[in-house]
Symmetry: C3
Subunit: 265 residues, 3 copies
């Protein structure tokens, strides 16, 4: 516990010292919030999606965040190109399979993205992780009851397939790397009443993975910071509108004290 | 008056109990706010616009909201497809003809959308309702003086044509279904200083129409909730920035008390 | 100094009296904030990017703001069309070359836009102004050390080339028109922690240029209002989340008193 806490504090400090440039190809709904969350935590966002320039953008950035929230073919093409480039130059790739399982297009797109190159980290809710495993084409059948437990099993298999980290968001977050599992129990139910906080979590993983090569550790740090900032915001919020504002302030304010006092496995 | 108030309270309660999934094909400017407003009131937003998946998305949602704010051909194609699907499986369709009359493209697009299938509800300001009637191609000539009164006449005709409900937003909102007209006089002028609150109103109608089949009643409930939340926000706001935040909080907080105290016809 | 202060006050008053319609073809990340900033200051935003309608939109607006933040070919085509139309009917054109120098596509696009017609005002940070000068194709070599001083020289040359105004944003803003240079030293470092405040500055120049033909003066007024509103916001903010909210409130509240007390050259 102590070691984990000090690791989170160290990683946060690294993000703030190095201000990593994070390239986001993400959805329209959350772009503004994602950019603001990255700035608040001390990173710098780039948002660019034209096929003609994504490779150059990947080159100048320290990590790549791919989010399929508002999918369409020209964006998918750019995502594939960016992923291949990032893999080639060994930049961490973080995938957020928003709405996995909700449509054939989403499932096919996830397969295309996974086939392009294995992401370093995949983050989603239980249902998205289960559907992503199914879309990977390397397993058959999906438990229709999307309990946390069945998501953990899927998360482990998915982690094996991508040889990377899988994060299952929820009341308790599970951060899985093959046979290792970490937990973060911070956060607040109000976070489900603000759009795109899952997407923000994915972007923060991008910021932490940009400075911390151990993606299991980077993901744990990012999820802990998310959850603790959520608790800090909740103390001042009167509803989801003010929660969203206080959450950005909390990402800016959070320090060693809050992490030491609040981190819960 | 009493009956209307109790209907609004009942409909709001239904939205919160059933958490309807609302599919939005809307404009870039307001996506974040719209999603947050739907979450704050107790509904769940889906935002997806790829032609390849809109039919599947319509299938899993309880209503469809179409908003032409930042129009382009690929989006229009997806809108047409989604509308036809929604009509076929009898899901309510809510149309927001943003900027109707401002360009030939907008007028033509509105005609295409109306030709695809009649929406259950159209919501716009006076000028947009008049222009939409004109674009429907089923009437000639538009009064160039866009007074509320001339919009009411247009609203009635438009309601006849679509065999549905027409909502004219303004200082007083008129909710029209053929020969029936309801009024909501709640709200605050500050609402015109925040972008996309008209779009939010349309999305809330989508949430209410998802749980209340009587679209005249659902539209009245949604407009009343909008206006009362606006009044609640105004009490705490120091300008349009804080207004926007308090407005989302108010959508989350509003209950029977506020509706009973504040509803004005 | 006195004369400048009175000019700023007069221009702000003009914006609020005439509520100019400002046409924005801008990036996805900032659309909502840009629209809200324009509303807060007293202008009205239009956001439309379809090639089929941009000319009509330019016709009904008082100025055109072009921002290449989230670039793609269909948008560039619409930008070129809108710029040519605005030039033909003598509406002011404000260009924000976001990320100039970061990719070949950006540099080529800037050249295409400058070739379509010279903007009335270009606003960017030091690095963007230097890269824009380079992209104009009318100079060779770019100083790789992007100090304010080298940006001023580039700004002067760029101003000569476009026969217009160049604004270099930074801790001190430089507003340049050929051999004339003005300075604004207002603002707060927190402004760099909120996404898109540079884009907001460009949009505000659009609002001021819509009512004030002297673009050197209009740009100075806009940058002064930006910086002073930033200082007002900082006094109440606890982080970048609340800063953003208070900033919009400040744009709404700012008046002659704040400008007289705070304006710094």
């Amino acid at each position: 516990m102590e070691t984990k806490i000090e690791a989170i504090i160290e990683d946060l400090s690294l993000v703030r010292k190095t201000n990593p440039l994070v390239h986001n190809i993400t959805n329209y709904v959350v772009m503004n919030n994602t950019a603001n969350a990255l700035l608040a935590i001390g990173a710098s966002p780039i948002m660019a999606h034209a096929e003609e320039e994504v490779e150059e953008m990947v080159s100048i950035c320290s990590s790549l965040v791919i989010n399929i929230g508002t999918l369409s073919e020209p964006w998918t093409k750019a995502m594939v190109k960016a992923i291949i480039k990032a893999k080639n130059i060994q930049k961490p790739i973080i995938l957020d399979p928003v709405g996995a399982g909700a449509s054939t297009l989403r499932n096919q797109t996830i397969k295309r993205l996974l086939d392009a190159a294995s992401p370093s980290v995949i983050r989603g809710n239980a249902s998205e992780i289960i559907s992503t495993l199914s879309s990977s084409g390397k397993t058959k059948g999906v438990d229709s009851i999307h309990s946390s437990e069945s998501a953990i099993e899927s998360g482990k298999k998915l982690s094996e397939i991508i040889q990377g980290t899988v994060v299952i968001s929820g009341a308790t977050d599970y951060i899985i790397q093959r046979d290792q599992t970490r937990k973060v129990s911070n956060g607040d139910p109000m976070m489900t009443k603000v759009t795109g906080l899952g997407c923000t979590a994915t972007a923060l993983i991008g910021a932490f993975a940009a400075v911390q090569k151990d993606t299991l550790r980077a993901s744990l740090s990012a999820m802990a910071v998310m959850g603790i900032a959520g608790e800090m915001a909740k103390m001042k919020a009167e509803g989801p509108g003010s929660f969203q504002m206080h959450f950005l302030d909390a990402l800016y304010q959070i320090g060693a004290d809050e992490i030491r006092t609040r981190f819960k496995e």
